[in-house]
């Protein structure tokens, strides 16, 4: 997960538990990355470039990342033990090749207003192409304003 122009790039990673992530900084300013999420508490002291070894995520759950210098920076690492997982494309679709069977499906979105229990469903795969569609009933929370110069929040 890179840091480019004072944003995390990408702003969301979905990773299997016990895997590792590197957090290089491609900006010319230093960043200081932290998480106080129960699933992984850590901090990367002030740095530029790629000075640190990868960070290992050994606990399932959501890890919210911030920068202690630039409060507007916000990103998520979603650590999962699910056998099949991924991040949806921009159009909200995701697909996987799975053996036939019955599956629990859950989705998560950082700006969803729904409770987690309302974002779960079950699907039974019996033939080659099975499609499950989940609709969010409530609109997403507002995204951070786009294109706002990062130099605008010095005070």
């Amino acid at each position: 997960m890179d840091q480019v122009n004072r944003t995390f790039e990408p702003d969301l990673l979905v990773i299997p538990v016990h895997s590792e992530v590197t957090f290089p900084n491609s900006d010319t300013v230093s960043h200081q990355i932290y998480s106080f999420s129960p699933a992984k508490r850590f901090q990367l002291p002030l740095y530029r470039g790629k000075p640190y070894p990868p960070t290992r995520f050994d606990q399932v759950g959501l890890v919210t990342l911030g920068c202690n210098i630039h409060d507007e920076m916000l990103a998520y690492v979603f650590v999962t033990d699910a056998p099949f997982f991924g991040r949806t494309a921009a159009d909200g679709t995701w697909s996987a090749e799975v053996p036939n069977g019955r599956y629990r499906v859950s989705i998560w979105h950082p700006r969803a207003r729904e409770e987690d229990k309302d974002l779960r469903s079950e699907v039974t795969i019996t033939n080659a192409d099975e499609t499950l569609t989940l609709h969010l009933v409530r609109p997403l929370k507002a995204a951070p304003p786009e294109g706002r110069p990062h130099s605008w929040d010095r005070y």
Binding site: N5, R6, P45, D71, S151, W152, R154, Y155
Partner: protein
Amino acid sequence: MGSLLKPASFLAAVLAAMSAAGHATAADWEADLDGRLVSVNGPLPIIDGGLGNTRFGADQSGLHLGRARFAITQNLGEVWSLSLDASSWGDHDKIPVGLTEGYLLWRPYPRAGYRLRVKTGAFYAPVSLENRASGWESPYTLSYSAIDSWLAQEVRTIGAEAQIDWLGRHSGHDFDIGLTGAVFGWNDSAGAAIATGGFTVTDRQSVLWGRVGKPGVQPVRAAEPFREMDARAGVYGGLEARYLDRLVLRFLHYDNRADPTAVDFVSHTVAWDTTFNSAGLRFDGDRGWTGIFQWMSGTTHISPHGADERWPFRARYVLLSKRFGNHTVSARFDWFAVDGFRDDGEDDGWQTGHASTAAYIFQPNARWKFALEWVHVVSTSYNREEFGQGDAIDSQTQVQLAVRYALGSKSLSE
């Protein structure tokens, strides 16, 4: 020169210490040069002894230095940093180059969703919602609102400020909330310029221990806002709430707790007991829209040699801005008023007025910025007539074309 030498030698010591520690990341620095082509009509500005409401006035149409600035932030180890912001404004201050801000910041890592920040040094109180760019500048206009122009002129925290933030957005909520408190000194003369000269619409920030007005020229004379006269610390407390990085609300109560009876017999200046409340709201919408509202209401009070005089003041503004890529178009409307009450029942030094500001800013890249701004101020000033500086009712128009060139690691990353 003393105030210049001290920070410079401190910085040198700090840089030496950092290279010894071997753990430093390089300092972030920025150097800007801002030139102006000005066309103005109206009275002389306050810095030159007049009672004009804009930064330039009288016969000052022509080319001017807008601001020459050098700023540096040096991280000191893991959670400390030192920031210095030095400027020259090309006018007749007694300090030609000085610091507008200089402070040490301690910013430990957040714990369980809370984070503490402590600033020690000299810096702006968290009031302005428009001056959000580096150097306490506005990305919307060249000239600041009446409220922020006054803060630029007379108000600075020289002391320590602590802020505790609850980082709600980093713990799955929609809000961040911050509480701020500060203890400060050397601001016992804040209020002199607003009482005698009234509100202005300017981007001239006083440097630390600099001067407002011109020695010997009534009524402002040489106001020196950064004085400690009574050994009583001033305080402020504030609250900030942010919703999804889009809506910001701020409230601050400020009291310099100056003893209004204190008199400095050497400089013949008095202490100005100044308190104010300020509140503001800023909304960053979709498609580049920003709306800002700020309000302030306060009083400054002197009571030397048994006399008693007070000047309640209030100001507010609305600003609307739209960004189109590298282009920003903004409009702001300010209202302001200062009343003057003497203990003998006479009015003294009151001012009322309003200002319209329209600005276009083009920032093609991090290095270059071009701005065109029109400011029109209509004001009624008791002192302008009283001191023979023109009619009580006056209107003033200032048009500025600004070109700014920036260098440095900070500007490159923006």
